[in-house]
Amino acid sequence: MARGGRAGADLARLSAMRADIASIFDAAGAARVELETLQPADVMLDLYGEDIRARAYLVQDPVAGEQFLRPDFTVPVARLHMEQGLSPARYYYDGLVWRRQEPDVDRPTEYLQAGIELIGGADPAAEEAEVFNLIRSALGDLVDRVITGDLGVIFAAIDALSVSEVRKAALRRHVWRPKRFHALIERFANPIEPNPSRTALLSQSSVERRKVIADAGKFVGLRGEGEILERLDILDADAAEPPLSASDRAMIEAVLAVSGPSNEALAELRRICPRSMAPALGRMERRLDALAAKGIEASDLSFDATFGRSIEYYDGFVFEFRAADPALPPLGGGGRYDKLTAKLGGGAGSTAVGGVVRPEAMNAAETGA
């Protein structure tokens, strides 16, 4: 598939396709940017964690150290924006990305992405609808199915639970690891009986705890006594906290099970969500209105509450376009990633939403190759 578009008429068609996509992004007022191929490993590892090593190619430089070949453009664009702060903050790009694939999966490890990113906008719903519509326009009639989700709804549901901030933080941290997320829900609902030594430890005063720690051995590594004592306090509070209520559990599980046309999904969410989630559902409604204004009806837009949970940096609206041929990778997709900009900007974040298409997959879908 990615081997196509390399020469002759095939290359000419791919080049024309890329030019058309660029003109769509250009007409939307975006500035073309050229991003660095090599991205600093520490920044990428800090954002994505160890799993990035299994997904991206690491190269060694004797002076600069480890660098990743960019596995996408979102992080390079966000870094460029944070460093140079161009205005207006609308960027588009077209270039190669590199992804390692599982050894037994026949997917390209090098392929083109063309995309647009809107950073720092003031009207989230309008910008989400705009990016969605630009990607949809770039893909034209190659699209067979579209799927959307909204991680903001999941975060709002976590926030609506009657549990401590510590438990909420644990759930928020694992939104992208569904299996662990559900294990946490189970644990909060049906607390595990602690082992006898843990029970004994928690029954002790802080003076006694210090002695237990001192007797347990030498401090090695950078985690110190203060951190251990602090966590014991958290364990105290956790042991005293009542279990997650059956109604709360039912609520969050029902939210995660919502799937169907977006208008029906929103109605269902309105029915099952507590009032405190009104702002998140309001954002979803304004987005659907903004999409409708562009001629995209909510009834034609399928929604799946769990969609987007595999991509760690998305934290709001997410979408993906697929071709009729299931063997082809997604033709395009994108979403909102406000928190990523905060992480890169050392706390000073902005709103950010973007999307990409994969020209070679489009070429393959068009030619049936």
Partner: protein, 225 residues
Amino acid sequence: MIKLGLPSKGRLQQQCVDWFAERGLEIERAEGGREYSGRVKGADGVELVLLSASEIPRELAAGRIDVGITGEDVVREKIPVWDQKVRLAAKLGFGHADLIVAVPSVWVDVDTLHDFDAAAAAFRKRHGMRMRIATKYHNLSRAFFRDAGVADYQLVDSQGATEATPLNLAAEAIIDITSTGETLNANHLKILSDGLILKSEANLCVSKTSTASVTDIEAFLALVS
């Protein structure tokens, strides 16, 4: 003719030699005992190849040796999609080693992976970096933590004396093989209660990619079974 790969030195080699001796086969090094080749007395058509223990998985995967003895841990760590390349034909009862997650014994609040994950989140907030785990088993470690849903850690490469890395402040925890646990104790570490990644031992392994005759390989396996 089939090629049998064995470790070229050390305790593991001696255990291999003993294991074959118990089955009436004598491992005999070539003239002078310095050349890394030889033969197996009692088994016709078997050529002996002596290799660095760490290279046996790679040679099996490439089909340059047909049968070899190595640990299950290194097969799983070093060969991508190992089960398409190598068959574990028999467990040999020696070379026992557990691949485990160990943390400082002084961490009285951390007994399980759940504890570890929570501690890692707090550690990252306080120190501005992910919790460091020293290991040479990068693939097995990542897969284990992904499955367990542990986040906020980073792997630090350590090719030897891994137990000492926390003492040297180069890591907070380790993932390594242990047999008795004594080295862990001596280095102020304890194993997490659910931190067993793999119970490994030496295996008789058969290459799935070699071009040797299946009949010859099966005959050899029957001889030593």
